[in-house]
């Protein structure tokens, strides 16, 4: 089973990386109103119960993969 975790800066949290990307894109002539930079984490898991895997990934996100103070996360499972 494959899991993809998408970690994003929460709305309203200053994202200087996103701002730098936005201004670079604008300099290149792209019309971009806003850019936010997050992180993708690909995980390979043992095949098993999907809902149990999801619950475990939630714990992994809360404990390590995201900092809930500033980041939100999304979990996608591919069986």
């Amino acid at each position: 089973m494959k899991a993809t975790i998408l970690v994003r800066p929460k709305p309203g949290i200053l994202d200087p990386q996103g701002e730098a990307v936005q201004s670079s894109l604008r300099q290149l002539g792209f019309h971009v109103d806003e850019a936010r930079v997050g992180r993708v984490i690909d995980l390979e898991l043992d095949d098993g119960d999907e809902s149990a895997a999801r619950a475990e990934l939630e714990r992994a996100c809360e404990q390590l993969l995201a900092n809930p103070l500033i980041e939100s996360y999304e979990i996608a499972l591919e069986t």
Binding site: I13, L64, L69, I70
Partner: protein, 232 residues
């Protein structure tokens, strides 16, 4: 000074710590016995205080401090702090304490995205802590910063709580990194854990341009010694 007991203070070395020896040297010169403790140790030696030094623990992978907080020694540090023990986190050590939940808030990449490395002026907001006994509220200290990830963040609700509890200990006079409310250092609710981005261990000799760091580290040593004497 010489006849006063020298409290033993642990300085934790994580893989990637690079200010552990500077911190130990500064503590030794200011009247403590510094003991370096490797991150893989499950227990702390018998010490009166713990310092988490600056550096780039575990390569700063994922988020600064996010992986170091799971080092075996951190369980012992947590127990030590929960028991009222004095814990000081400097720069990366501050990031580790925030990620570990021993201090409120989080450190994020500087708003400028630039690494800042220079002396900064700090205003003492709270002198009633074990780390600020030698300074006065409102006093200005000159201590260097050197970090790329020093932008302190706490949401409005947390900030209000920190302010009400007097947990905001130091503020920058000119904000070098975009920290919310120019916060440079915060304590936990019980004030036995303190973290700051500036490096007091780099401001302990006139040759370094400032000796104001001795006021912070000296205050810690005073408090550690006091606890040693009370316990004896």
């Amino acid at each position: 000074m010489t006849d006063q007991p020298r409290p033993r203070i642990a300085v934790v070395t994580f893989p990637g710590s690079n200010d552990d020896h500077d911190a130990a040297l500064a503590l030794e010169r200011l009247g403590a016995d510094a003991t370096l403790v490797w991150h893989a140790e499950p227990e702390l030696p018998d010490v009166a205080a713990v310092v988490l030094p600056g550096g780039f623990s575990y390569g700063d992978y994922l988020r600064c401090g996010a992986i170091a907080r799971f080092a075996p020694v951190m369980d012992a540090v947590r127990r030590f702090a929960d028991g009222g023990g004095l814990v000081l986190g400097i720069c990366n050590g501050f990031q580790v304490l925030c990620e570990a939940g021993l201090l409120p808030g989080v450190l994020r990449p500087n708003a400028s995205l630039s690494f800042v490395c220079r002396n900064v002026a700090l205003r003492v907001e709270q002198a009633d802590t074990p780390f600020t006994g030698r300074v006065q509220p409102g006093q200005t200290l000159t201590i260097p910063v050197k970090h790329g990830v020093g932008c302190y963040f706490a949401d409005a609700e947390l900030l209000a709580r920190l302010e009400a509890n007097g947990q905001i200990v130091l503020r920058y006079e000119a904000n070098p990194n975009g920290s919310v409310q120019a916060i440079a250092g915060v304590a936990n609710e019980t004030k036995n854990v303190f973290g700051l981005m500036p490096h007091p261990e780099h401001a302990v000799d006139p040759l370094l341009g400032s000796t104001d760091g001795t006021l912070i580290l000296g205050s810690l040593i005073d408090s550690a010694r006091e606890r040693l004497l009370t316990a004896a």
